[in-house]
Symmetry: D3
Subunit: 161 residues, 6 copies
Amino acid sequence: MIVLYPGTFDPITHGHTDLIRRATGLCSKVVIGVATSKKKDPCFPVEERVRLVKAAIDHLDNVEVRPFSGLTVDFAREVNARAILRGLRAVSDFEYEFQLASMNRNLNPEVESLFLTPAEEYAFVSSTLVREIARMGGDVSHFVDPAVSKALQAYCRAEQT
Amino acid sequence: MIVLYPGTFDPITHGHTDLIRRATGLCSKVVIGVATSKKKDPCFPVEERVRLVKAAIDHLDNVEVRPFSGLTVDFAREVNARAILRGLRAVSDFEYEFQLASMNRNLNPEVESLFLTPAEEYAFVSSTLVREIARMGGDVSHFVDPAVSKALQAYCRAEQT
Amino acid sequence: MIVLYPGTFDPITHGHTDLIRRATGLCSKVVIGVATSKKKDPCFPVEERVRLVKAAIDHLDNVEVRPFSGLTVDFAREVNARAILRGLRAVSDFEYEFQLASMNRNLNPEVESLFLTPAEEYAFVSSTLVREIARMGGDVSHFVDPAVSKALQAYCRAEQT
Amino acid sequence: MIVLYPGTFDPITHGHTDLIRRATGLCSKVVIGVATSKKKDPCFPVEERVRLVKAAIDHLDNVEVRPFSGLTVDFAREVNARAILRGLRAVSDFEYEFQLASMNRNLNPEVESLFLTPAEEYAFVSSTLVREIARMGGDVSHFVDPAVSKALQAYCRAEQT
Amino acid sequence: MIVLYPGTFDPITHGHTDLIRRATGLCSKVVIGVATSKKKDPCFPVEERVRLVKAAIDHLDNVEVRPFSGLTVDFAREVNARAILRGLRAVSDFEYEFQLASMNRNLNPEVESLFLTPAEEYAFVSSTLVREIARMGGDVSHFVDPAVSKALQAYCRAEQT
Amino acid sequence: MIVLYPGTFDPITHGHTDLIRRATGLCSKVVIGVATSKKKDPCFPVEERVRLVKAAIDHLDNVEVRPFSGLTVDFAREVNARAILRGLRAVSDFEYEFQLASMNRNLNPEVESLFLTPAEEYAFVSSTLVREIARMGGDVSHFVDPAVSKALQAYCRAEQT
């Protein structure tokens, strides 16, 4: 079974990587779809986000990273994914995910939405907070790949000048 | 009893229409108040949102559609509404609604807040997701009135040029 | 409009009374349905719960108190209620209420479920905690009618002997 | 991939069946594990619950129904399941499921927990409410298989005599 | 500042111990109040629960363990605690805790309710699930003190004979 | 024990003041940290927010108000605070707070996160809604200090011209 794991990955965290690693144990292939357009004001451009995802999942097999725009269900069909994989961390996640899954099912009933929960130590890591901490000069190396950590530092230096 | 159903309706969905239809069975009149100012960056201007609401509820009796600005409780008084009607879809809705109801009660204790839940098939429809799907070229005709669907297509075409 | 306010009322609290009072301002009649069978092991028998509800709402007009067994939607039809009224206090309430409303709509689509939220000072009062506090000898007079307070004291004395 | 779908199924509802049907589209085999011991006071004995599950999923391929006792992760290993499948309906579900998934991961890190959400029309169906409605003489045929409906009627008749 | 950490501790888990350890860093003394009566059917009698709490917190200073019955606010006053400490793990916890804090404040406005969150690795550990796993022969040594683990094994053996 | 109560306070409400008052009863000193940078588009500049906090807590002892930028844990260390104090009003608060507490603990394990819940009458007051009501000409004097009320009126007049 091929699954699509879509997201903004702005930037990818250890929480995402943990989920992808575990998904590879369940599926024949995991396609990571990096959405170009979802957020109006991303921290990193999509090419950079794709590069950082690739760096973070370097050690995993059967994973493919691709940028995409348009509807997630259309991209799922394009990559022959039978299911859309999403991580569930918290209640607010769940509410939004349920809405999303429900509308995606309306748009294409043949693609299922599948959920995994991250390991406990990553249950409270979020890209938003990682960006916020980095902006204030905090050390985010516990939460992200070294390549991401370096990119965030460069980004924050550029932002301040 | 007259009730006020206030909202941004950007745009009106089948979830809203279902709620209004059921409210008309309980009240002598439902005033739909289309807020001009609530959102900073609405998809449609208020006149267009009023027009689309009117198109979507065309088949219902005892309903009046009016734009409004200012406090909801003040508008409720203006239209002689004894209660403000709100839809409840999910937990995050509820939290915000409880805050709103509590503050409105402080501002005017004589106006009650009344809640209905949408039919199951609309429990996960949201204006935000409808806009997002339309922007990506998805088919939203399961979620909204044909007039809204047409307006969204025109809007998205305009946005891309 | 006649509404049915069903519950176990084991015992009735100021939260319930506040809701009923506000409902009487919106409807022509509020029928309070005291469920005989919902809970397996109620604190008070249904006759006593009916008596305490009557004592607590003594000062309100257009209210009728009746015990009932069987389906809530059937009793709603019996008393000509167009809607079932329920109070919403918290998230866990809401989840259960949404399930209940959804199933009731399936059983009888002509009866709506209508929700009100209690005043802030009663938002966290629950019959379960009131019973627990009374059992431990605590003073529950802030939360319930004097008649209920007295009945709880008698009940707790009886339980300990 | 083989997945285990464990539960009490007391009784199986259309919500469960919908989930199983969709899981069969994603996995090579779905083992339905009917827990003998989870609930202290089940409505139906485990043999009857197994029989009703079999009746409800009769039309589905690649599904196996088996009673089990003991730890879910141990039974998962026994049937060579790579993942435990669970349905997510609501917030309260999610909280409990997250605890369960977390503890199961501690007990056996090689078995993943996988979640699906039911179709909208079944999002609010629960075995508990189905039993409650049946007990009060309500018609549960919208929520369960005809075989289950019949068994519930027999059960309720027996309970009343 | 003296704080009271009340609970059933049936049995004490690493989640509780982690909270107590961190509380000792903030307060001059932590009184652990083991409630005798809260649960109708505890796994362990109160003396055994006190013994297990003592075993689990053996390495901590400024901690006192005492059984209590009656209202928590009354026991707080008895031990001169300025605040009641509670752990927050999840949404459902929070709802109940908010009700409890609100009612306790009504019963005695001079005792505050104070909350800490457990470390991530214990965020999903619960006494209820620990008991359930132990009953099914699972290994709970990741979640509880060795003394508790041993007591649970003895308890489960006794239950089965 | 010194505690840091960080926030944007845009503007300070009676909910915040109530929390601070109760915290002063538990700690030797409460440092109120007014964050300069958290929000991209605050209603009031940080100097004004500091001034309004000072006006609102004028009657309280052992409180210090200071603006800060950078990481909260770093500022906590700077003012020798052993704990970061946060208010908990609702579920959505809690989710975010848990993430924040978890990440702060990673950044500095020696600073604890401590939570208090506001009094019932302030449980639903939020700075965001207060600003919204003021903008629409509503009376916010039930929710904020007279100095804040006056500042909001001036701000709204300026915004409209």
